[in-house]
Amino acid sequence: MNIYVINGPNINLLGTREPEIYGHETLDSISKDCIKKGLKDGHDVKFMQSNYEGEIVEWIQHAIKEKIDAIVINAAAYTHTSIAIHDALKSFSGFKIELHISNPHLRESFRHVSYISPVVDAVVAGLGANGYSHVIELLADLQKSYK
């Protein structure tokens, strides 16, 4: 199984940016943990991060072209603004999961709307940095049970 984990703006600051909300773990340590977990079950997990909306759209288009099996996307602030990411995800027919480290619904009202949620299969929020590895583990298990 090929899995893209796409991260949006400011996620590169994990570990230093508002740690009381986002925790002390860095994106690098999260990605190493997930890649290792994936490899154990024979899955190829790729982590990417960009502060640019267009680059995220291009990665999703790339996932469509390469027939990637699943996208886990933490679009961060673009979650609440980006119709372009909404449209790109709509064209991706693999399994799609929206992920947030905190629970946006419990924060400022401008974070209560998500353009991503209606076009994904599942939403995971508020499980902290561990959310990533929980999702990778579940995807690996799901694939085993469908084999």
Binding site: I97, H105, L106, S114, D121, A122, V124, G131, L138
Partner: protein
């Protein structure tokens, strides 16, 4: 002693046939309960699994969660966004549980944002420090149980 987990299923969840249209076929609450029991057993959690259509009873369960349990997973169905007095009672009860630093996760079988939802009109979800898992079918519960287990271990 094992950590104690309470899983509450809200109004209407005794019949899961309506989830067929979301692609979660042949689900029954018994199957969900069986899956949850298996997952909890493998992680060394003791589980109480309940369902009620009655709001007073749900409030009682939430009160019990504060006293008798270490963690809570709740599928509130529409109860969580009823935008009414009931909703206020519900969220304040959930908040009481989270204030004790007990992990609480709201789960839904289907992706509640997916069908015919106007994204510009946000859905209310539980307040308090609550995790959220929606759309994995029966596996929403599985993921939530694992997340609760990890949180309890870290606390």
């Amino acid at each position: 002693m094992n950590n104690r987990l309470l899983i509450i299923n809200g109004p209407g969840l005794s019949d899961l046939s309506r989830f067929n249209e979301f692609g979660h076929d042949d689900l029954t609450l018994e199957k969900v309960q069986k899956k949850c029991s298996e997952t909890c057993e493998s992680l060394g959690l003791s589980l109480e699994f309940c369902q009620s259509d009655d709001e007073a009873e749900l409030t009682n369960y939430l009160t019990r969660a504060c006293i008798e349990f270490d963690a809570l997973i709740i599928n509130p169905v529409s109860y969580s966004h009823a935008s009414s007095l009931d909703f206020d009672i519900y969220t304040s009860n959930i908040e009481t549980v989270t204030l004790q630093n007990k992990p609480v996760i709201e789960v839904h079988i289907a992706n509640i944002f997916q069908k015919g939802v106007d994204v510009t009109k946000p859905i209310k979800v539980s307040e308090g420090n609550v995790g959220f898992v929606s759309g994995f079918g029966i596996h929403s519960y599985e993921l939530a149980i694992r997340a609760v287990h990890r949180k309890l271990r870290e606390n």
